[in-house]
Amino acid sequence: MSFDAFDAWWWPYLFILLAGWLATDSWRYLGVYLGGKLSEGSDILVFVRCVATALVAAVIANLIVFPSGALADAPLTLRVGASIAGFAAYLFSRKQILVGIVVAEIILLTGLYLID
């Protein structure tokens, strides 16, 4: 029952609906249900925010350390180095997101063109 298992036009859509939509929105609905039971100032919310933040941070780190597609061709040190430099630039520029992104992208692109 893979994505290409049936020839019917609707099968890929059903596949996306079940493996994609249902698998993600179940968590969101569970979140609304649980969130409805908590008040804004509650201490559990601090914990939940910590878990959510650490999860998203892990997504970020994995996108940098284990990227897919064209980014995987860039050396690990270049990816990590550019990220750290970008984050430092963000902090030093009083949290200007654009400054951080531009610095990191310049380092990445310079590195990639130098390697070629």
Partner: protein
């Protein structure tokens, strides 16, 4: 009676105003970065052999970039429906705590539950960070309207972006594609730091960054869950210890 309708139309007008402010909030650097990330995703989907309507449908229905990348990976690997759903569900556990964190900030006594359930579909990193950053400047009663503006705009614009990338047949040079893929983590890296509610959020972020790749190797498939629970717990206990120290000292 007439006074009542006047009050109602006034409140409706305010809702529209805040909805439009939410729409406008998307035309910003975070919105632009997300668009770039979806350009990268559309390229990935096209290489995987998905059609334009399938990719646009996936973007609207799933609306979580990491989950969509995992789903494409499962399609490429020829995984069964069950295995694909399991992998996508694992990559999306983080959505539950994100929704738990944002729901109490949008809810008023008058908010109907179905509104919150519908809005939760828009929760993904960008809209979540944008909302958590902006809510302090949005009246509580207007936050659902505001978030509807953010969420619906991001979803619709990026469905359009994905379709456009499919139609433009030319391929980008690999360096530029790499730079596009790099935008997403960079944007998250900087904006997540800014959206933290308390110091513990920064601790959680640093821990998550550090242990994410480690668990990716040690616990493949459960890496995000493990990093979130362990990094989040340590940050929370650090927070508790700090609060206790402050109240005692």
């Amino acid at each position: 009676m007439s006074e009542n309708t006047e009050v109602e139309s006034d409140s409706q007008e305010k809702h529209v105003t805040w909805y439009l402010r939410g729409v406008r909030r998307c035309f910003s650097i975070p919105g632009l970065v997300l668009v770039s990330a979806f350009i990268g995703f559309a390229g990935l989907a096209r290489e995987a052999g998905l059609s334009l309507p399938q990719t646009v449908f996936m973007t609207g229905a799933v609306w979580a970039l990491p989950a969509q990348v995992v789903l494409i990976g499962a399609v490429l690997a020829g995984n069964s429906l069950f295995a694909a759903a399991f992998a996508v569900a694992l990559s999306s556990v983080r959505l539950a705590p994100m929704v738990v964190a944002i729901t109490p900030e949008m809810r008023t006594e008058k908010t109907r539950p179905w509104v919150l359930y519908c809005l939760s579909h828009f929760v993904a990193v960008t809209s979540w960070v944008l909302a958590m950053e902006s809510f302090k400047n949005v009246p509580r009663a207007m936050r659902t309207a505001y978030y509807t503006g953010i969420g619906s705009t991001l979803v619709l614009v990026n469905m359009g972006v994905v379709a456009t990338v499919f139609l433009l047949a030319e391929r980008l040079p690999p360096q530029l594609t790499a730079a596009l893929f790099f935008l997403t983590p960079l944007y998250f890296l900087t904006s997540l730091w800014g959206s933290a509610r308390e110091r513990a959020g920064h601790v959680a972020m640093v821990l998550g960054l550090a242990v994410g790749p480690v668990f990716h190797i040690l616990l493949p498939g459960f890496d995000l869950l493990a990093a979130g629970v362990i990094g989040g717990s340590v940050a929370y206990f650090w927070h508790r210890a700090r609060v206790r120290r402050e109240t005692v000292g």
